[in-house]
Subunit: 212 residues, 2 copies
DNA sequence: GAGCTGACTAAGCGCTTGCTCAGCATGGTG
DNA sequence: CACCATGCTGAGCAAGCGCTTAGTCAGCTC
């Protein structure tokens, strides 16, 4: 049904501090797909449990509530995105090369993991307040990484932008919105899309010689 | 509470083919704000009716269902967006000038009318099937207008893009996503944001001399 | 003033929701 | 063998949902 690599976000059985039994993992997977397709409020605990091959009551053995499932998905999804952004921003090369890599991976992630991406970006309002606080902090960190990289590029004379914060918004915006519209039937692979968006963003930031 | 110019979308009493009594208008306004803030499924008919100053039963005198309210909001919002895009794309000047105006107005509309914009772009999955068909056709028309304008620019030698469809996606994507993140507390006015996004998009499309 | 209409409300129906609980099977341990 | 922890199910509860119904009332028409 879906090609989302959920396994990247939650290690299953073999070790790892937050490893979880297979049933809890199946519930996460079912919740991600239901929340992404119908939204949090339109998804019932019966939907999730049935998709995971259990009765509704079994859900409450592994998670205290439906909202806790959402919180865990949102937390892990944001943490993975921040990690991806940090790795690209702190990588090798000049600001132009690092920005290119950042956009390529940010974009292709939002295409590949679009089901997780939808939950992460469009179900924030359904999060319990304490979970929202955790997630909001992660989002701020992501924004800060992008802003800092643009500033580094400007300082190095590689970028030229009127307003760094607006440019940073535009960069993250482009990537996030991919999870809204990308589907199995899209003509480009996530990686192709990432490469093209990388080019578009470099030109947008005024990187000289970023042609085609 | 909100600064959304809902009045632009639905003429009230004085004439017009689709003029509607004040109570129906109040229900629309209340529904837009509730759907935008909490989402369609988390909004109850009691929420809407109370915000409009009526009992829940009064809603059903003016609209056949909660979903019909959403359908009307989505239809009118999409129609207004298409009109805005058509006007800008068919306006005066070369493709560069028209694209600049299109992005400026598309962006500032999504900032100004962000409550309507959120319902329009993020509650599509809650639409009844027939209403979805109408709206999907309008969305396709919007995409086609943008694509055609980019193609005109490429033909005139003013733009240079690897893939027209990808570039069109990026342009609309940037504008749509504004309705997700823009708030009262944003540091830029909708018009400032529009102007800056206009510049960013022209550079993204490879328009020569689009500096700053 | 009788008769009618359109906008509205109080009450509530039938159903679904998130979640609970008593009990059952399984398998490891003494 | 008895014991118990673990993972689960079937049945179901209280609350809240979209929507309906019967009836009220102001204002218009003749």
């Amino acid at each position: 049904m879906t090609s989302t690599p959920i396994a990247d976000l939650w290690p299953t059985l073999p070790g790892g501090a937050d490893a979880r039994p297979e049933a809890a993992y199946r519930l996460l997977q079912a919740a991600v797909e239901s929340f992404a397709e119908r939204g949090f409020h339109a998804t019932t605990t019966r939907d999730i449990a049935t998709a995971a091959g259990m009765s509704p009551a079994a859900l409450y053995i592994h998670y205290p509530s439906k909202a806790a499932l959402l919180a865990e998905i949102s937390r892990a999804g944001h943490a993975a995105t921040l990690e991806l952004v940090r790795t690209a921003a702190a990588g090798e090369g000049d600001p132009v090369a690092r920005m290119r890599r950042l956009v390529e991976e940010f974009t292709s992630w939002h295409a590949r993991a679009r089901t997780v991406g939808r939950v992460v970006n469009y179900e924030l309002h359904a999060l319990p307040q304490d979970a929202y606080g955790v997630v909001a902090a992660l989002r701020l960190d992501i924004e800060r990484e992008v802003t800092a990289l643009i500033e580094a590029g400007v300082a190095a004379g590689a970028f030229e932008v009127a307003e760094v914060r607006t440019a940073a918004r535009a960069v993250t915006s482009l990537g996030i919105d991919v999870s809204r519209w990308y589907t199995d039937r899209s003509s480009e692979t996530p990686e192709e899309l990432g490469r093209r968006y990388g080019e578009l963003v470099l030109r947008m930031l005024g990187a000289p010689g970023a042609a085609l």
